[in-house]
Each structure stands twice: as structure tokens, then as C-alpha cells.
């Protein structure tokens, strides 16, 4: 797995955070098992270069955080809608940004052939019909 936009540490961070947000549970595979991150460039390539730079920096910092710190951070993010104070908007922004990346790579039609399990969209029963003439 490689990206033209995100560093290897950044990709590692996404997989780690992804597995914390979506662990293997019942019929749900974990985030990293599915491997939708292989198509992350399809999403990131549309962002302005300055935003990609900021994302790389942020994810690289997160990649080097120990698990317990990362879990604390995710917890702060999860509860940020109710919190106030000068840091609350930053946690809220982080929350939406990271969840956006993770969910986009998980609830997706674009999954590598190497993953042979049931796809998350099939597990939740989402089967959109497009009638095109």
C-alpha cells in the first residue's frame, strides 16, 4: 500500500485510528482488514496542496503517539460536541476530519480484491440501484 500524497507514517496512523474506531466486531471486519485505504488517493487528490500538507503533518504526529494517548484523544474528540473552551472546536474539527477519512474508506464500493470477506456495505444492507439508459 502506497500513496502519492500521504506518507507511510500517515497511512499507518489511519489504519491504527481506523481499527480503534471500527474494530472487528461480530460480522463487521476491522477497518484495516477491509483495506479500503488502498484507494485513499482518489479522495485526497482533490484537496488543495496546503490541506494535504497539513493532513500529512497531523497524521505523522498521530502515528508516533502511544496507543493510550491516541485513545484519550479519540475520547476527547467523541465528546467534543458537548464540550466548551478554546480547544473544543479543534477537537470537533479533528473528529469530523478523521471520521470522514475512516468511514469513507470503509463504507465504500472500492475495496481491493485481496479482501475476500463480506463488504461493510453488504453487511449493513446498502444496495443502491442505478437505472441508467
Amino acid at each position: 500500500m502506497a500513496s502519492n500524497y500521504l506518507s507511510n507514517s500517515a497511512l499507518k496512523a489511519i489504519n491504527r485510528i481506523g481499527d480503534m474506531m471500527i474494530p472487528r466486531n461480530g460480522e463487521f471486519p476491522s477497518f484495516s482488514e477491509v483495506g479500503g485505504i488502498a484507494y485513499i488517493d482518489d479522495l485526497v487528490s482533490y484537496a488543495p496542496p496546503a490541506d494535504i500538507k497539513d493532513l500529512n503533518l497531523l497524521l505523522t504526529i498521530l502515528a508516533f503517539m502511544p496507543n493510550f494517548v491516541l485513545r484519550w484523544l479519540l475520547n476527547r474528540m467523541e465528546n467534543s460536541m458537548e464540550s466548551s473552551g478554546p480547544l473544543a472546536p479543534i477537537f470537533r474539527m479533528l473528529d469530523v476530519g478523521l471520521r470522514g477519512l475512516i468511514f469513507s474508506c470503509y463504507y465504500t464500493e472500492k475495496i481491493p480484491a485481496s479482501y475476500t470477506g463480506k463488504k461493510p456495505l453488504d453487511i449493513i444492507g446498502f444496495d443502491l440501484t442505478r437505472v441508467e439508459d
Binding site: I22, L43, Y46, I90, R130, E132
Partner: protein
């Protein structure tokens, strides 16, 4: 030198470009987004956010509590919208008149412009047999509780429902050209007929030279300039206001950026034992149509969200998240759309980035809470085992920032659609809305654009 340059191609710019093109005017259309069509619109939810939306999906207020959605593509936000097209009522126009001092804000004065727009587009009012299970449960419960509801009217020509098409797919652009976006409704045929349009071209600065206007733009990063005798700004509430702010017009126009409103929406999901499949078929056919709720300042919409968006509505991850997603097909959904106060302000920081202040006022909160309580009641009465209320609010109807009014100290655009003090700069998009109407804005945006088109064509003796 063009007679008119139109900036933006949403419901406003699309309508005006179409009318001026048909009238034979010497025009150029500039659009920051790409030209896409039914074959090239994104096919996945994630690609839709990344490719079509400004901000890669969502933009936030400074407090990061509210997200705003708008798109960057030929057709503007009408490419992704639900194309529900409603005329305003007297409540909305009376409040506009009171705020702006503009006396032609009446249904009678705008009737012929509404008529023209409605005549040009294919419109469909839903019927009982087009409701999916989500809508059936909503209406049954409303009937029991005594909330009045009605069928929605949508701009669409042929959605192939009888062949099992799911309209949720058209949130990423309609792959059938059925939805009456300003692309399908106006621009597609004009472009084929030779309309002069430059895409992926973002206007960054406007210089008014008196009798002419110079526009500085970036076309795929490359700087370009354009000259016109007149310009029409149709970049939407954020786009138009941003262009004016970064061009330094705030000095003459103190109201620039102010009076922003957005009809914040809050979704609640109800969990059922039975399979609902709320995303199937026409997924939005009915809404509350209750004078009582109208007076209270909110309405209820029977909607649903595709998987990533549904997941995004709840912060909690892990098991809680998986519980919601596991039950995706057994959920119904209702949202409250608040008729909010126009207390927001659109600004541009020193790096040229938009910043949006959107205080959620005590009145807004009261309306949201009342609406949510009613939704919980409706869902429980439907038979929901559990109700999940999302804490997030999303603004889909971005309005104001360059509002219309008679007083140049309190508004940006005069009653003849001219930026105060400039005879050759016009605006007729969602940025001129004086306050939140509490009604879907697109049809009225097009009716106002039609009025401006008629004015411009008339002033130039048919052009």
C-alpha cells in the same frame, strides 16, 4: 470585451446565463468547478464529497458545531440537491419586506417569474403510491398525532422508479438527467449549442473601472484576466460574498458578509423491528405542512442519509457506531429544519480563507428542541424501539451575506439587483436573501434570477 460575464452556474447563474444566451447577448460564463455529465458524475458517496464539494465535503463555522454544504461543479449546488421546488408564502415575503424595505417582495409581483421558471422545468408532485416505508410510517404517525403533512414537489422528468431506480444515487449528480438541476434544466443544451463557458476558473478579484469591470481569476492555478461591461455574481452566499470581500468592497458596503442564515437541520433516526430500507426508491416524498409549525419556525422533513453521511452524524465510534450501522436498513429518519435568525457573518481571513461565524441563538435552540421533541414523539408513535438524535447540524441552504435592501448601510444589493453604488455589477443568487424564509430556497432563487434576466434583456432592448 463581453457585455456580461456571469460568475457561477447554480440555480441563479444557470438561469441568467440561459436567458442571456437565448437572447443573443455577448456573454462569458465562468465556473470554479468542472463540467460533468450523467456519465461522469461520481458513482460513490466518498467520491461525491471529494470531487464535488467545496472543502472536500464540508465547511465549518468557527466553532466547528455546524457544517455547511455547497458544491463546485457546472450546475452548482443544484447538482447534488433534492430539487424540491416550493414557492414562498406571504409569511416569508412579508418578513423579507420588513427587513429589506423592498416593496416588490410579494407573491403577486413575483408570480410571472415563478410561472416562467416552473414552465421551463419538468415538475412532479409525489403521490401516495410513491411513498417508501419511511414516508408511510411518518405520515401515519403524523395523522395520529395531528401534525399536518403534504406531498413534496420535485424538479424531475423521468426517474425510472418503475424499474427500481433509487434516487439517493442522484445526491452525487443525477445519472439520468432527470433531476432538473441548472445543468440539466438550462445549461446542458446551451453548452451543446455553443454557450461560451470556461470551467475550473475561480474568480479571485473584481476591479470596477467605472464603465467596465476587470476580473482576475485562476484557471487550474494559472492567472487570467477577463473584461466585461457588466458582471453578474452568482457564486452563492459564500462564493459571491467571498469575491466581494476579497476585492475590498467591505469599505463601501459595511453590511457585506452579514445576515447569514442557513436553515440548520438536525436528524433523528428511529429503530424498528421490521425492514424499512429508507434509502430505496424516492427517498423524500413528504414533509410537514402544518401552519402551526410554520408559525413556530420549523418544519419536519422525512429524509434519509447514505451510509457515510449517516455514520458521520454520530461522534461515538466502536460498538455504538456499529450498532447504528448494523441497523441501517431498519431505521426511519426525520429531521427538523429550523427557520434560523440571520445572525451569522461570512468573513475572509488574511490568507483569503472563508471563516463563518454562525451563532445558534436562543430562539434557534428553542425551535430545534421543540422540533426534536415532536420528532421523538412521531417516531415513538410509529413504533420505533429506540430514537437516536444526532447532535450535528448541517446547513444546506446558505443564504445572505450580500443581502438586498433599500438602505446601503444595512444591505449590499439594491432593489434592482445592483451592488449599491455600482451600475454594472449585479447579484441575484442566494446571497441576497435578507433572512431565512423557512422554505426551500431554489425556486425563488431562479424566480429572482428570471426577474433580473428580464430586466437586463429589457434594458438592452432585447439585446
Amino acid at each position: 470585451m463581453y457585455d456580461y460575464i456571469i460568475i457561477g452556474t447554480g440555480p441563479s447563474g444557470g438561469n441568467i446565463a440561459h436567458n442571456l444566451f437565448k437572447a443573443g447577448a455577448n456573454i462569458l460564463v465562468l465556473e470554479a468547478g468542472k463540467l460533468m455529465n450523467k456519465k461522469t458524475f461520481p458513482r460513490t458517496e466518498a467520491d461525491t464529497s471529494a470531487r464535488l464539494y467545496w472543502g472536500g465535503g464540508i465547511e465549518f463555522d468557527t466553532d466547528a458545531k455546524m457544517g455547511f454544504l455547497r458544491t463546485r461543479v457546472v450546475g452548482g449546488t443544484s447538482i447534488v440537491n433534492q430539487c424540491l421546488l416550493d414557492r414562498f408564502d406571504d409569511i416569508a415575503f412579508n418578513d423579507w419586506k420588513a427587513e429589506s424595505g423592498v416593496n416588490w417582495f410579494t407573491n403577486e409581483q413575483l408570480a410571472k417569474h415563478y410561472d416562467t421558471v416552473e414552465h421551463a422545468l419538468a415538475l412532479h408532485t409525489f403521490t401516495a403510491n410513491e411513498m417508501n416505508r419511511n414516508a408511510q410510517l411518518f405520515t401515519q404517525s403524523c395523522d395520529k398525532i395531528g401534525v399536518k403533512w403534504g406531498y413534496l414537489r420535485k424538479g424531475q422528468s423521468d426517474c425510472a422508479q418503475e424499474r427500481g431506480n433509487d434516487c439517493m444515487a442522484c445526491l452525487g449528480g443525477c445519472h439520468r438527467d432527470s433531476k432538473q438541476s441548472s445543468y440539466a434544466g438550462y445549461l446542458r443544451d446551451d453548452i451543446a449549442a455553443g454557450l461560451n463557458i470556461q470551467t475550473e476558473t475561480e474568480v479571485t478579484q473584481i476591479v470596477n473601472n467605472g464603465n467596465t469591470v476587470t476580473l482576475h481569476a485562476l484557471q487550474q492555478g494559472k492567472p487570467l484576466t477577463f473584461q466585461a461591461k457588466n458582471i453578474v455574481l452568482a457564486g452563492g452566499a459564500f462564493g459571491t460574498t467571498k469575491m466581494l470581500l476579497q476585492s475590498g468592497f467591505k469599505k463601501q458596503l459595511p453590511a457585506l458578509g452579514k445576515n447569514f442564515s442557513t436553515h440548520p437541520q438536525f436528524m433523528s433516526f428511529g429503530l424498528f423491528n421490521e425492514e424499512i430500507h429508507a434509502y430505496k426508491g424516492y427517498f423524500q416524498t413528504v414533509a410537514s405542512k402544518d401552519p402551526n409549525l410554520r408559525q413556530k419556525g420549523y418544519k419536519l422533513e422525512n429524509v434519509f442519509a447514505p451510509p457515510i453521511s449517516a455514520a458521520m452524524l454520530f461522534s461515538r465510534t466502536g460498538a455504538y457506531h456499529q450498532e447504528i450501522m448494523r441497523n441501517y436498513t431498519r431505521m426511519t429518519c426525520i429531521e427538523v429544519a429550523v427557520r434560523d435568525e440571520n445572525a451569522g457573518e461570512i468573513k475572509v481571513d488574511n490568507k483569503g480563507k472563508l471563516t463563518i461565524d454562525k451563532p445558534f441563538t436562543a430562539q434557534d435552540r428553542r425551535r430545534r428542541d421543540e422540533g426534536r421533541e415532536l420528532i421523538a414523539n412521531i417516531l415513538t408513535n410509529e413504533g420505533a424501539k429506540k430514537v437516536y438524535a444526532s447532535p450535528f447540524s448541517v446547513g444546506l441552504h446558505l443564504m445572505g451575506g450580500s443581502v438586498m435592501g433599500t438602505d446601503s448601510a444595512k444591505s449590499v444589493v439594491d432593489p434592482e439587483f445592483r451592488v449599491h453604488g455600482y451600475k454594472n455589477m449585479f447579484v441575484a443568487d442566494s446571497s441576497i436573501y435578507p433572512n431565512a424564509p423557512g422554505i426551500n430556497p431554489s425556486l425563488t432563487i431562479m424566480a429572482l434570477a428570471q426577474k433580473l434576466s428580464d430586466q437586463l434583456i429589457g434594458a438592452n432592448h432585447g439585446i
